[in-house]
């Protein structure tokens, strides 16, 4: 549901759009610092209303590209268009059609309301209109009851929301977000990301998101552009980029770890059993107490695939004590993508798994997906293809576990 419309007065610009034009279009963009070329993008496009994530490692030129597109820095070469109209650094009206949230946004001493007003103060805005807008946007980011709070008393996550509100209140046609969650603790990050997703979905704005966190890109974006050393190497939907990476670099970057959330069921001398949200039981090595919530992360290269040797799947998982791999699940290959010498496969688990030590398989009724990476040679030998029944196995020690603290004020 789109609730945040675009009002002409707020955008400061003419709000005009050439029909059928992209929200942002750029070409031949080059930026050098001294002798070093930091950004070299031949063409770039963001469609109206979409969320585009620019994904890349640190130092790839993301922030520079961000500043160029947001008209905060002058490119050495190239052109940029907003909705079909050519714009430049000097174009104040163009800049006022956008708003940006930085990685570490600067807030001024004062109340939350004062800070949110900041951007409005640059444009002529009627006071009472401002009041209403501020209330609305604070509601949107979940800070409604902190309107008069002093920013010094806020937590990191709350500060980030204030920065977001400050940008949103300007009703920008294009919203730029530079690493919005990078500055937050890992535990806060996820929560904020979810809220961000909710906000972004309700906006009519086009959103350009800069990040090095692929989970963020995956969670928020309609399209992902992967950037390496100043150049865009691949653009596409998250699926295209993540599962059909064009180069090793893209594949490395997108990683594709399997991430599950669950609750600790038992702890026997350091060996925990966790029931995931998808109702799978996973054995991990961790120091958690029963009842604690945890986030599990499995690297694709740690997942091994084997073909069930027994015709009856249920019997396959008996006698699991003969292998050291504690987690073994039956599943069906959903997708396969090859790149270079590796093959990536997505396996949908069908809720049948072996619990170590038991003789009968336990049907748990849950589903989950696990992503694994195997060598092409192995894939060929196994005959890996969509629809194939496989056993996915992960060692307990290979799973990384992080406590998920719920109830922490974000």
């Amino acid at each position: 549901m789109r609730i945040w419309g675009l009002s002409r007065e707020a955008s400061g610009g003419s709000g005009d759009r050439a029909p059928g034009s992209s929200a942002i279009e750029a070409g031949d963009l080059v930026k050098k610092y001294g002798a070093r070329t930091v950004v070299k993008v031949d063409s770039f496009r963001v469609e109206p209303g979409e969320v585009l994530a620019v994904l890349g490692p640190n130092g790839a030129g993301k922030s520079t590209l961000f500043r160029l597109l947001a008209l905060l820095e002058k490119p050495d070469h190239g052109w940029i268009r907003y909705f079909g109209k050519e714009v430049s650094v000097r174009d104040l009206n163009a800049r006022r059609r956008t708003a940006a949230v930085f990685q570490r946004p600067i807030l001024f001493q004062g109340t939350v309301r004062k800070n949110v007003e900041f951007g409005l103060s640059f444009r002529r805005f009627a006071r009472k209109d401002a009041r209403r807008k501020i209330d609305e946007v604070l509601e949107l980011v979940g800070l409604a009851d902190l309107r008069e709070a002093d920013v010094r008393t806020l937590s990191g996550g709350e500060l980030q929301r204030v920065a977001l509100a400050r940008a949103l209140v300007l009703e920008p046609e294009i919203l730029f977000l530079d690493e919005p969650t990078s500055n937050l603790d890992i535990t806060l990050r996820r929560r904020f990301r979810e809220d961000l997703r909710r906000v972004v979905e309700s906006l009519a704005s086009t959103v350009v998101l800069i990040t090095h966190d692929r989970a963020e890109a995956l969670a928020l974006a309609n399209r992902v552009a992967v950037i390496k050393e100043g150049t865009i190497v691949q653009v596409g939907t998250p699926d295209e980029v993540f599962l059909q990476p064009k180069t090793d670099f893209v594949a490395d970057l997108t990683g594709a770890e399997t991430t599950w959330r669950g609750k600790v069921v038992s702890n026997r001398e350091g060996l925990c059993t966790i029931r995931t949200q998808a109702d799978l039981l996973v054995d991990v090595v961790a120091d958690l107490s029963p009842g604690e919530e945890a986030v599990l992360s499995i690297r694709p290269e740690d997942v091994s695939l084997s073909l069930p040797t027994n015709a009856v799947p249920a019997l396959e998982l008996r006698g699991t004590s003969l292998t050291s791999v504690r987690n073994r699940w039956l599943g069906e290959v959903a997708k396969v993508a090859a790149y270079g010498a590796l093959v990536r496969a997505e396996v949908r688990l069908n809720g049948t798994q072996g619990v170590a030590g038991s003789r009968a398989p336990v049907r748990l009724g849950g589903e989950g997906e696990v992503i694994c990476v195997v060598t092409r040679a192995s894939a060929d030998e196994l005959g890996l293809r969509p629809g194939l029944q496989v056993v996915a196995g992960v060692k307990a020690a290979a799973i990384s576990v992080m406590p998920a603290e719920s109830g922490v004020r974000l």
Binding site: G12, R67, A70, L72, L92, R95, R96, T98, A99, A100, F102, R104, P105, I106, L107, F108, Q109, F118, G119, F122, R123, V151, R152, G156, L159, Q160, A163, R166, A167, L170, F176, N183
Partner: protein, 240 residues
């Protein structure tokens, strides 16, 4: 030591009586230094701000010039202004020598670099992100500059105060271009500092001491103001 206390006693009497010559000289000092400081602000603040914000090809040279201007011995400045305004000098035909105008010119060249250099330092220490953030939220170039200046306002105030302090305490330059002239007991181009020199030379310790006392009070007030301001330089913004 007796001579000191005697002079001090006489000085207090002079001040209490509100001796007209003393008042005129004091007013001249404040006027000339004040005007010089205002002109110094008009030139120094924009220049310092520009150098504090932008880095361009000649930046190093320009910043050095400003800093050198601040470190330049004021009496050298006086010499340059004197030669400039003397009859044989470039602007000699204006007949400005030995007038309050000449004194303002000399003190301007002393105050302006101080204001400019401190402004440059203050504006330069406002993080670049502040300006960028303002621009990113729709500020025009001028509006973003205003935001930066507002952040640096305490340092800017210190710059002005320091400039005034440098101007009002100047002796040599003002003596050279002003001449410490008086006419029939009324002050023409004397300032407190030059008057002290002349009076000591004449053995008029009481009057000299009177001016010294006033200057001390002013210096004290300036130092107090600067200290108070410096304590006020706390971070005005938060970075999350």
């Amino acid at each position: 030591m007796e001579i000191f206390w005697q002079a001090l006693r006489d000085a207090v009497v002079l001040l209490a009586r509100g001796d007209p010559y003393v008042c005129e000289v004091m007013w001249m000092s404040v006027q000339v230094a004040g005007l010089a400081t205002v002109l110094g602000m008009v030139v120094g603040i924009p220049l310092g701000t520009w150098l504090g914000i932008r880095k361009f090809r000649g930046w190093g040279a320009a910043a050095t010039v400003l800093n050198v201007g601040m470190m330049l011995p004021p009496v050298a400045v006086g010499l340059f202004v004197f030669l400039l305004l003397s009859r044989q000098g470039l602007l000699g035909s204006l007949g400005l020598l030995y007038s309050p105008t000449a004194m303002v010119v000399a003190e301007f060249f002393i105050a302006a670099p101080v204001v400019g250099a401190i402004t440059m330092s203050g504006v330069g220490s406002v993080p670049r992100e502040v300006r960028l953030q303002a621009l990113a939220l729709g500020a025009s170039r001028w509006q973003s500059l205003w935001v930066v200046l507002r952040e640096a306002r305490v340092t800017l105030l210190s710059a002005v105060v320091a400039g005034f302090g440098a101007a009002i305490s100047e002796v040599g330059a003002v003596m050279m271009v002003g001449g410490n002239l008086s006419s029939g007991g009324h002050n023409l181009t004397g300032t407190m500092t030059t008057a002290i020199v002349a009076l000591v030379r004449q053995g008029e310790y009481a009057q000299a001491m009177a001016f010294a006392v006033i200057l001390l009070v002013i210096a004290f007030a300036i130092t107090l103001a600067l200290t108070y301001l410096q304590r006020g330089i706390r971070r005005r913004w938060l970075q999350s």
